[in-house]
């Protein structure tokens, strides 16, 4: 990927995480996750009843590498809330189990109290 392409991808990511409260970069989509770890995060988000935008990185090779570079995180899925990187599958599951993820979403009024 050359420098210009990368800037385009980064701009798109910035726009996505600014325009959407919760964004999940994943392999596949909500209806058809292509990876167990992506599916696990979808499951967590659906359990909490939070609205989110799913972005499939498999259909876009530039984005697949670009999101790793943007976040400085080597794996997918990646969850963003209010423009902030929360973590991958392991961290999301940990934060959900401890209730911290629910607290964060409540704080931002993305799920009901």
């Amino acid at each position: 990927m050359d420098f210009l392409d990368k800037n385009d991808v980064f701009d798109r990511i910035r726009k996505d995480i600014a325009d959407n409260d919760v964004v999940l970069y994943m392999k596949g989509n909500v209806a058809f996750p292509q990876c167990g770890y992506s599916a696990a995060v979808v499951q967590v988000l659906e359990n909490m009843g939070v609205a989110f935008k799913d972005v499939d990185v498999i259909s876009d090779p530039g984005l697949r590498q670009g999101i790793k570079d943007f976040t400085n995180w080597p794996t997918i899925p990646q969850l963003y809330v209010k423009g902030e990187f929360i973590g991958g599958c392991d961290i999301v599951r940990d934060l959900y189990a401890s209730g911290e993820l629910q607290d964060l979403l409540r704080k931002h009024r993305l799920i009901a109290d």
Binding site: N72, T75, F85, G87, D90, I91, D94, L95
Partner: protein, 74 residues
């Protein structure tokens, strides 16, 4: 990459850590690392995971197919 090599990489990057690698499905592909280290104390989960990623370098997301990571202070 096999479990012993992954364990060695993490130990090299974080020498104080206690590291266990489990082959979750017994297929040699889906692995889970538990990394216990006092140096994680007071650090957010994201940073703890980034320390493990740093130890694994370019292997993670490449020659390591799927690695779950669990970090603990003690």
């Amino acid at each position: 990459m096999d479990t012993a090599s992954i364990k060695a990489l993490i130990k090299r990057g974080i020498p104080e850590a206690k590291v266990e690698i489990e082959d979750v499905r017994g297929d040699g592909l889906h692995l889970a690392a538990t990394v216990v280290c006092q140096r994680f104390a007071g650090k957010p989960l994201l940073e703890q995971h980034r320390m493990v990623h740093a130890a694994l370098g370019s292997h993670i997301g490449e020659t390591i197919h799927a690695l779950q990571i669990k970090t603990r202070v003690a």
